[in-house]
């Protein structure tokens, strides 16, 4: 039960000054992208204090990790951030492979890069459509979901799932990438490049969008650092932090790609980072398709997997930023502890500070530019 006194957010005097009122946003609100609740203390149209309240979709994945074997926890990781399941499963298999010293065949690594980058594009398309929907533009989401459907079809052909992929296995993949997928992906890259130009003409250069995003919601690089914000948020603040470069994993060091960085620190900068990232992902996919060798798709993995005692970390660049898995093993078949470090969690934690003094519609535009996935925050 919520007592009335709990509705007074921390930071407000609690005296109920005649100028302010409390506005409850969510947990069921279209602009909150899921079950996120924000308790707003408003001074007229202006936000005096915003306190995000989370936990409405908390599933305790970390506890589930402690009562099943390493392999059985793998499908859980694709359900944390359901929009970038490939990256999340990659982090978990990567952590286990690092701890158990499992070799992954090169073909599997390239296939992982291709599917991860496809997933990044499909995730950014959902963000793009949803952000524009927040801002009142209905058409873009239809274009985005039309193109996204092609990615979902490709990935469905590989692993059967359209959203919560569980395609990676310890030591490799669930099955080999077939010719139909490789050809389909090549066709998709050719199809997508002109579409991104069309997106730019249709939306990015639109004066209404510019006025809604430019100079709105400034987040400095220093704020990102103190809160641990990563992904397009920190890259929109002028810091070229990308796990694919900072802690190289898989075959990313062999591929040539740029890290898009914008220095404006505003919502538009974060928007442009993601738009450029889609282009770079297409570049990565093209190169990986050229480089993928023939060979096995899974390495030698012991039937009963027991990891050595100790802890191991593995981080990946997910669509929303740095996703890290910290596994602690006590030498048994089941994990002793699985810590999941979710990027949306840290990205939202700066909202309280960043939204001070903004008007509500701008604060919602900024929230859209953070690209939150609530199940990722709540885990």
């Amino acid at each position: 039960m919520i007592a009335p006194k709990d509705l007074i957010p921390v930071g407000s005097s609690g005296q109920g000054s005649q100028e302010t009122f409390v506005l409850n946003l969510g947990p069921q609100h279209p602009a909150a992208h899921g079950v996120l609740r924000v308790l707003l203390t408003m001074d007229g149209e202006w936000i005096q204090h915003a306190e995000p309240i989370i936990g409405y979709i908390h599933r305790m994945h970390e506890k589930m990790g402690e009562n099943r074997s390493w392999a059985k926890f793998l499908p859980n990781t694709s359900r944390i951030d359901y929009l970038s399941a490939m990256h999340y499963t990659h982090a978990f298999v990567g952590a286990v492979e690092r701890a158990a010293k499992i070799e992954v065949p090169v073909r599997a690594e390239y296939a992982r890069v291709i599917t991860s980058e496809l997933n990044r594009i499909s995730s950014h398309m959902v963000w793009w459509g949803a952000l524009l929907l927040d801002l009142g533009g209905f058409t873009p989401i239809l274009y985005a979901f039309d193109d996204r459907e092609k990615i979902l079809d490709l990935l469905e052909g590989l692993c059967g799932a359209r959203l919560t992929y569980c395609y990676y296995r310890f030591g490799g993949l669930y099955n080999d990438v077939d010719d139909a997928f490789l050809k389909g992906t090549r066709d998709f890259v050719k199809h997508m490049q002109p579409r991104l130009k069309m997106y730019r003409d249709l939306v990015t250069d639109n004066i209404i969008l510019r006025k809604r995003l430019e100079k709105i919601g400034p987040i400095s690089a220093e704020m990102c650092r103190r809160y641990g914000a990563t992904g397009p948020v920190i890259r929109g603040s002028g810091v070229a932090y990308d796990v694919r470069r900072a802690e190289p994993y898989s075959v990313y060091p062999k591929l040539d790609f740029k890290i898009p960085v914008y220095h404006e620190c505003d919502s538009m900068a974060r928007y442009l980072v993601r738009m450029d990232e889609m282009e770079q992902s297409l570049r990565i996919i093209e190169q990986a398709l050229d480089l993928i060798p023939e060979g096995p798709f899974i390495g030698k993995v012991p039937r009963v997997l027991k990891l050595p005692v100790g802890d191991t970390c593995y981080a990946v660049e997910a669509a929303r930023g740095r996703f890290m898995v910290r596994i602690v093993s006590d030498g048994k078949e089941i994990p002793y502890r699985v810590k999941l470090r979710a990027p949306s969690f840290s990205n939202l934690s700066l909202y309280e500070e960043a939204s001070k003094g903004m008007i509500l519609p701008d604060a919602l535009a900024m929230m859209g530019s953070l690209d939150l996935v609530i199940p990722d925050i709540d885990r």
Partner: protein, 186 residues
């Protein structure tokens, strides 16, 4: 300030050296003797294999094997100073979490940091007794730790002293249990 591992190691070695023995008798971090004397908790049916204590409280490790470059174990009273060293070196907060070492009757608090411009990852650990799991908050140094510490309090019941807003976070508001404690019975 651009950090390097030598400077970081020196700073942490100086920090750790200032407490030659644990701040309070039960507050152990590396001592093998102290571990031997702690009684195992009765609920632990199968004792977990506990990682051996680090050879040195401050060490650099191979990131390709572990996923981080720097691993320091400090006394629980020193976590703020440890966070300040990393803050000055330009690190960003990655995560704060716990591990329940029930067989040792201890809780481990793990602080993860990454560097936004240099390829460096640092881990700071501390141990607190299970009976009195208290550690100062580092949210004054890294405001991002605020949420991570609330989550850790929810899951483990570790109290972060001086925390500005230690309210239930991810668990239901009437939750009086800590699900990641190894003796938690649903």
């Amino acid at each position: 300030m651009t950090p390097n591992l030598e400077q970081l190691t020196a700073d942490f070695a100086a920090l750790v050296a200032r407490v030659s023995r644990p701040v309070n008798p039960t507050d152990t971090n590396t001592g093998q003797e102290t571990r031997a004397t702690t009684e195992p908790a009765p609920v632990a049916k199968i004792a977990p294999a506990v990682p051996p204590p680090p050879a040195s409280p401050v060490q650099t490790v191979d990131p390709l094997l572990k996923g981080f470059n720097f691993d320091a174990t400090v006394a629980s009273a020193q976590v703020i100073e440890a966070a300040q060293i990393l803050d000055r070196a330009g690190f960003a907060i990655d995560a704060v979490t716990g591990v329940d070492w029930i067989a040792l009757n201890e809780m481990e608090v793990v602080y993860d940091f990454f560097h936004p411009t240099v390829s460096l990852r640092a881990v700071v650990r501390t141990r607190v007794p299970r009976a009195q799991p208290e550690v100062p908050t580092i949210s004054s140094v890294f405001p991002g730790a605020n949420w991570h510490e609330r989550e850790t309090h929810d899951f483990f019941g570790i109290r972060f002293l001086g925390h500005p807003n230690m309210k239930p976070f991810l668990l239901p508001e009437d939750a009086d249990f800590h699900p990641l404690r190894k003796d938690y019975q649903p």
